[in-house]
Symmetry: D3
């Protein structure tokens, strides 16, 4: 599926494979992981491909790990059974907030994959998802707390915070950073208020997206379960 | 721009930078190159990311080089002036013929970039493009010559040929391969007939696409010249 | 200098070089960065060397970037002048909280390097450090909020949070994570209270360490400014 | 064995191992692959070693794959049985046409390895080779079609084509390229005429080489089957 | 354990794992290997991390192999049984002679690990160590043969030799090098005399270190057998 | 030139380039370095290509460095002027003693390159070579000291020593190793006697090879100075 947050556009696709990585084989638990990447043409000035450079940068690693952790917070891996779900989040166009857009879209792709696994009778237990997960970024710019800054504002924000939350209003991950600045505890509180309100709104939009019928061209479970891709 | 050939979908975007790679600086000539990549979710069975593997596979290298060579056949690099154009071809969905779809789309992105450079007054001479370039794949399946096989048929073709041609009907590149089989000279001739007819039809479609007005949101030259991206 | 937090021991050393990385040359600003690594023998089960594996893991990248960002929050890079300070944090023995121990020790190494640069007359302005920086980890274990968990407890914590704060009580970085679990806003508040109290205590210990006279063997500025190393 | 085409000299050696790569184990089919490389001293200006650069270039990949595909077109992998033959083609001196010389020499090394496997009783069926394979390059220079251009002429050719053909006159691979130029269909036809005549002559020379008795020093099957190497 | 030779300080730690690398599994023999590395802050001018550069330099490889070979000369691998001992030698501060200090310290760590394995009843035969091993460097400076040069003198030595010897006075490894110079056989003889005397003294110090009681905090065999680490 | 020691065959080629690596530019000194590699088909059991593995092994590094150091011992780099000579030593067939064969052949290639540089008037001073350099391996097998063991014997030698010496009888490098064994000082003395006699004989053969006239096809200095290559 294609997520759009302002001018930021991220393609999120879930791939399902039977079995789990070797280090957890035989545990009865499934595995959910994510890979985040940015197309070279996604940014204003073309970035180099990480495949050409021959290594993945720290930022890419960091975001892939964040998305994976966030998704694992809402799923019961025992109920998933020994299946692996990889969520690919490829940024097509970047204008700030790509990691939070990716998490929000990744949850929808994950939920679709779970529905497909359920239809195919491959879950160990029904309903492995205990809640939904969404994410927003909040920043302080010119002393004011603001939601989802576009790139131009984000790059001059004094504080930058990413919040991942569930539809139950609990927190999954909070990452607040002051590059070259510090911030008061009261500012943190304000940012959290705004972020939790933003996540609540996103949860509502995720439900709506998931309530739509499956697209016509994938009427039955395919080996890969990419029904979500067909939505884009 | 987004090119679709059957179920194959490739995102082609041109990025313009002033100056040329060090090895040709001061020559007065410009440079055109291409990078081809496939998203892990583009294929039926998820592929590993080349950035994660830490190296680019032979197939990716081969196709990137083919696209670059094909584009350089239709452009006068002296007229381009010391500018570099990189065309990124990212396969979103793969169902056979990704390299030929990429070349065909890459030409449109290149032509758009040239129009933009011209409007910005940055060309050494007007009209650096001497012709248009498009590509098709032809295959022999069950003894019959066929155009643009989808993946399922392509993978059992006896002979597989990619042809890159110009709108003047001349050839840019011919690559015919029999994996585990050989083919007669007469079969080659038949494949070429079919391929040249296919390329002529694509040239016509390219002209139509380029005749469309620019999208509203990029009314004036931006630093990066990604007018083509806005079309997708 | 050698930092010890319980059984965790981290060697922190500052290296000063004249000039800055190319991308910021000529700006008049200095640069502070950090590299974190773990000796293979630091953990209970020997880890593989990242140099042998040929690439740096995501976790190492993430922590190195966190340390660098934290230090840059307390220094005026214009006052530093075009000098580069690299802080190496090498974990000799790991028992939980290595990243927070590293930040706390790195600040002392940085402050020492600044004193040395000042004595050598190489600062653009005196007093580039606007505050001190220290860090603690807090976790929730069996439903109770606790400071600085050792590894055995840390690995079964429900929530794990790292807080970087200044001696003025403001925040530099807040990273709270629930791997496979979520947490209430009220829990976050409790963790922050405990973390800020912990950081205040560490600030006091940092002042004491920095108040000690320089060790006898480095009585005058050496080209590398490693006075801190001599303390270990 | 050592192949010489003008000043181009390529060392071709076959290595036989029992078993096949994991991805085709148990299929009953054998595997033939090739690795092409150029010694740094082979070219006029010394090239960097790919092992020192830490990665294989696109050109090397492309040629290794071409040689492997060409050889697999003439062999029945079921008759080969679960054996793997790797053909190493190392260019000692390069003066144009290294890839076609490599294919032509690689076939002789392959045929020698097959004879050795047969003598050792390790083939699943006798006579796995259905035909012989050889290759030539043709180019257009100053408007004239020419066979096997040396490097100096090759580098200024308008069109460059490599043709792999069998002793039965059928085609295995056709790769025609116009770098910075295009060519007419009639030119392609002329190049093919000349190339097929050239391959017929090479097939004759290959038969002669294979008809020579084995060299004295390897009178019985060695574990590695490098009888061909002894000919050089 | 921490070895100090003048200002050179090397941390040597043994890690024991059950089983051996795949290539020697089932042989009944154990395996002893070593990894040498230098912390970036160990040298006067900070060195780049090999993990950041993505590859291990030739010098590091060379020294790791030398340490491993030296240790294997004094141990009966059949008596060790199918256990693997990895000795990590990390240079904390470098002032000449790091490789010989590493060998000398590595032997003590190895002997400790053997004592621990014996106490845990995991040796195939008691007493796998047939002798002790120590190493010194000798150099010729201004025409005079000298033992264990510090870095400043070492870097201008005309000849540099490393000698590894046993407590029985036999030789394990002799490496003498004249960078940009040559040396007479009689000089070699003088260097050997001095080196063997130096090794005899080191053997005595090693025995003394090993005769000390185990430190209090590791009274019983731990899974990893790092009693030596506790001595530092 | 092609060096043969028994069944060991090494191709040694010198490449000359104007200028020196950046780290010694402007010093007025030249640079001599070497790269050693083994073709995959050189050994009895095919080895993997280091370019395919993506990194150079420790053994390759070690030998390349040894050859370079040995050559630099016999040349006055100031007299060479700011020229760089790279000696490539590629092992075509390996049967023990490849590193010593490589050094011995590399000296001849180096001497040829010097003669060519002199003829081209590009030396800072005439006669930069102060002596010749050759190398042999000696081993102890079944208690007896032997010169230049072939692979089969070498692999079961109790002690293995490589000696690099000049035609003046002085030593350049001595590397004696007992893998899994130790050796007496008297054995070392015997090995040195035999090695020096072997080097004296090789020096004589080197002079003879260098006294031969240049081959006809390279009558005048070419840009690359590969006269030696033409001898093979």
């Amino acid at each position: 599926m294609l997520v759009e947050f302002g001018n930021t556009r991220v393609l999120c696709a879930a791939s399902v494979t039977e079995g789990v990585p070797r280090w957890r084989a035989g545990s009865g638990l499934g595995w959910v992981t994510a890979e985040y990447a940015m197309l070279p043409s996604a940014t204003h000035t073309r970035g180099d491909r990480e495949s050409v450079k021959g290594k993945i940068g720290g930022r890419t690693h960091e975001i892939s790990r964040l998305i994976g952790r966030s998704l694992r917070a809402c799923i019961d891996l025992a109920a998933l059974g020994e299946n692996t779900i990889v969520i690919d989040c490829d940024v097509i166009q970047a204008d700030g907030g790509t990691r939070t857009a990716a998490i929000t879209g990744a949850y929808v792709a994950l939920a679709d994959a779970i529905t497909w696994l359920d239809a195919a009778g491959r879950l160990a237990d029904p309903k492995p998802l205990s809640c939904s997960v969404s994410a927003v970024s909040v920043g302080v710019i010119d002393g004011r707390v603001r939601l989802d800054l576009p790139y131009e504002e984000d790059s001059r924000a004094e504080v930058d915070m990413n919040v991942v939350a569930t539809d139950a209003g609990t927190l999954v991950e909070v990452q607040g950073t002051g590059e070259g600045a510090t911030f008061a505890r009261s500012t943190l509180d304000q940012m959290l208020d705004l972020a939790l309100a933003g996540c609540a709104e996103l949860s509502r939009l995720q439900s709506e997206a998931l309530a739509l019928p499956y697209p016509g061209k994938l009427p039955e479970p395919s080996p890969k379960g990419k029904r979500s891709a067909a939505k884009s």
